[in-house]
């Protein structure tokens, strides 16, 4: 008796299934398919595709779990390709609404011409799909993501935008004389670098820190009238009283101001200084324009006027103009001048070091520092 072959035997040998065990064969097929990444629901389960000339994504079969070697094609990660909506064609309804840029004259002439009849066959009213109309794809650069991951960037931009406006007004001053100021600033920089800095270095090398501190203390003590008068002019009578106490304590207990005995009394330790520029500010006078004075450096117009007041109130100036001999005047005025120069250089270095624009850095630091002094 001749047995008719079953349907399974008609199939090619590779696809032949054991007929008697359909359930097992189904599971085996699913398992094999999933191992090869060939499940119908996941067309590019290997995650790697190539793009044909027509712009069609074609999955790349893996060979033993690896990409085929020596292939002339370029492989893309499927996850890196995202569909991009095609630019609306000229005759689409939305195209008329969009007017991005004024067209070139030649293009305008073309647009004025009647549009050619569209190539739509009578049988099929839907235009035939051409290769050009296939969806285009964009390749996301993974390297850029690696450097600044989206997540990281999201964190970076996470703050409210209000914080960008926070420092809008800090350190600002009108600077109509900027070109001239920059010239003076440059000259000052040369003087600081080639004259004052070497002098300051000698001063700090020759005099140990305790001696320098003593010089600073004496100078500070001598300038008492500047602070006292300005406290009074600012109607801060309690501070004027404390300033007087401080002067007496340092002059008597601190041997003419060499030692700051006042630092041992909490009420006298941190008395804010006062100068004529601050007083003018308290009286409601604004900064005025920014000026860079030769040698003296950054000032506002208000503080330049204030500086004249401070000189007038400083006893060192009284002695200098008091008819004493040149050598004596030099001996009296030099220590405070060198001391002040040393401090000024420290402040200059602190503000200008690691700056992007030294001139602006100094200007901003000056304005902020003065506003801080006035607010105390």
């Amino acid at each position: 008796m001749k047995i008719r072959p079953t349907s399974a035997e008609k199939l090619p040998r590779t696809l032949r299934m054991p007929v008697g065990r359909p359930l097992f064969s189904f599971f085996a097929a699913v398992l094999l398919a999933s191992l090869h990444g060939g499940l119908a629901s996941e067309p590019f389960a290997s995650g790697v595709v190539t793009i044909t000339k027509d712009g069609i994504l074609r999955p790349v079969p893996l060979v033993d779990g690896k990409l085929p070697k020596n292939s002339p094609e370029t492989f893309y990660l499927e996850s890196a390709l995202e569909p991009k909506p095609r630019r609306a064609s000229a005759d689409s309804p939305s195209a008329g609404k969009k007017k991005e840029r004024p067209a070139a004259p030649s293009a305008r002439r073309e647009a004025a011409k009647p549009a050619p009849p569209s190539k739509v066959s009578k049988k099929n009213p839907v235009p035939a799909k051409t290769a050009r109309e296939l969806p285009t794809v964009t390749i996301r650069r993974k390297s850029a993501d690696k450097k600044a991951p989206d997540k990281q960037r999201a964190v970076r931009n996470a703050g409210p935008d209000d914080d960008l406006e926070e420092y809008n007004k800090a350190g600002r001053i009108a600077d109509p004389l900027e070109p001239a100021n920059r010239c003076v600033f440059w000259v000052n920089h040369q003087i600081y670098s080639y004259v004052f800095r070497p002098l300051s270095k000698i001063y700090t090398t020759v005099l140990p820190r305790p001696v320098r501190s003593a010089v600073f203390n004496v100078c500070d003590n001598v300038e008492f009238p500047v602070r006292f008068v300005n406290h009074l002019l600012q109607l801060k009578f309690d501070r004027a009283g404390l300033e007087t106490r401080k002067f007496l304590v340092n002059s008597v207990g601190g041997v003419g101001g060499l030692i700051r005995m006042s630092d041992r009394t909490p009420a006298l330790a941190d008395l804010p200084p006062a100068d004529t520029g601050q007083t003018l500010s308290k009286w409601g006078i604004g900064h005025g324009p920014y000026i860079v004075l030769p040698v003296l450096g950054p000032k506002s117009l208000r503080d330049t006027v204030g500086l004249a007041g401070d000189y007038a109130l400083n006893p060192v100036t009284w002695v200098s103009f008091g008819g004493i001999g040149g050598a004596t005047a030099l001996a009296i005025t030099s220590p405070p001048a060198i001391n002040s120069m040393s401090i000024r250089l420290d402040a200059y270095d602190a503000a200008s070091k690691n700056s992007i624009d030294r001139y602006i850095a100094l200007r901003s630091a000056y304005v902020q520092s003065r506003e801080n002094a006035v607010s105390k």
């Binding site: 850029a144 450097k147 600044a148 960037r153 964190v155 970076r156 931009n157 703050g159 935008d161 914080d163 960008l164 406006e165 926070e166 420092y167 809008n168 800090a170 350190g171 600002r172 820190r209 320098r212 501190s213 941190d270 420290d346 602190a350 503000a351 070091k353 690691n354 700056s355 992007i356 624009d357 602006i360 850095a361 200007r363 901003s364 630091a365 902020q368 520092s369 506003e371 801080n372 002094a373 607010s375």
Partner: protein
């Protein structure tokens, strides 16, 4: 159910429903003290400035919010930066701040820092004023800190004698941005962090 059990249940429910306690200025102050303590410890043992800067870097990266600092130093122009420019600017500015901060220390010389009471300046924002005695001079240094959520507290600005580090850079970046946009800011930053020729 006994009344005491019902009361306890309500009490526990109310406790669970209440929001988490807001971050306090005291927390910010203790965070700052810990961070500054680490910095001072490194400054004490560093043999030279280069080593000091290298050792300070990981500590500063941990306690300073360089992202917030860069954003604010650039200002509203930050919105016009591309992602790549923002990333570059942040990297360069981080280098610059670390260099500036570590440059303020001389290895072996330790500052004496006196902490004053921390002041809350807004939700999640605290200022900690300090007086720093360094190399014989006294400076008022104020640290501005912000609660960054899961990250905890971070320093967002340092104000020395009334001069804010961020405000100072802001005026400089504004001029750069006006002259050449984001590219000019990034180029200026790159130039400032590159070694002098």
């Amino acid at each position: 159910m006994k009344p005491i059990v019902i009361i306890l249940l309500f009490a526990s429910a109310a406790f669970l429903a209440s929001p988490a306690p807001a971050a306090s200025p005291a927390e910010a102050e203790s965070f700052l003290k810990k961070s500054v303590g680490e910095v001072v410890g490194i400054a004490k043992n560093a043999p030279d400035s280069a080593t000091l800067a290298a050792r300070l870097r990981p500590v500063l990266l941990k306690c300073i919010s360089f992202d917030a600092m860069t954003r604010r130093a650039v200002g509203p122009g930050w919105r016009q930066f591309t992602d790549n420019q923002q990333s570059e600017a942040t990297d360069f500015f981080t280098m610059l701040i670390i260099r500036t901060y570590s440059g303020n220390f001389t290895p072996g010389e330790l500052p004496e820092i006196t902490y004053k009471a921390a002041v809350s300046t807004g939700p999640g924002r605290v200022e900690v004023p300090t007086t720093t005695l360094y190399k014989g001079s006294k400076y008022d240094v104020t640290y501005r800190l912000e609660d960054q959520g899961a990250k905890g507290w971070s320093i967002t600005d340092v104000v020395i004698e009334g001069v804010s580090m961020i405000a100072n850079y802001r005026t400089q970046f504004d001029a750069q941005f006006k002259s050449g946009g984001a590219n000019a800011v990034v180029a200026a930053l790159k130039k400032s962090v590159s070694p002098p020729r």
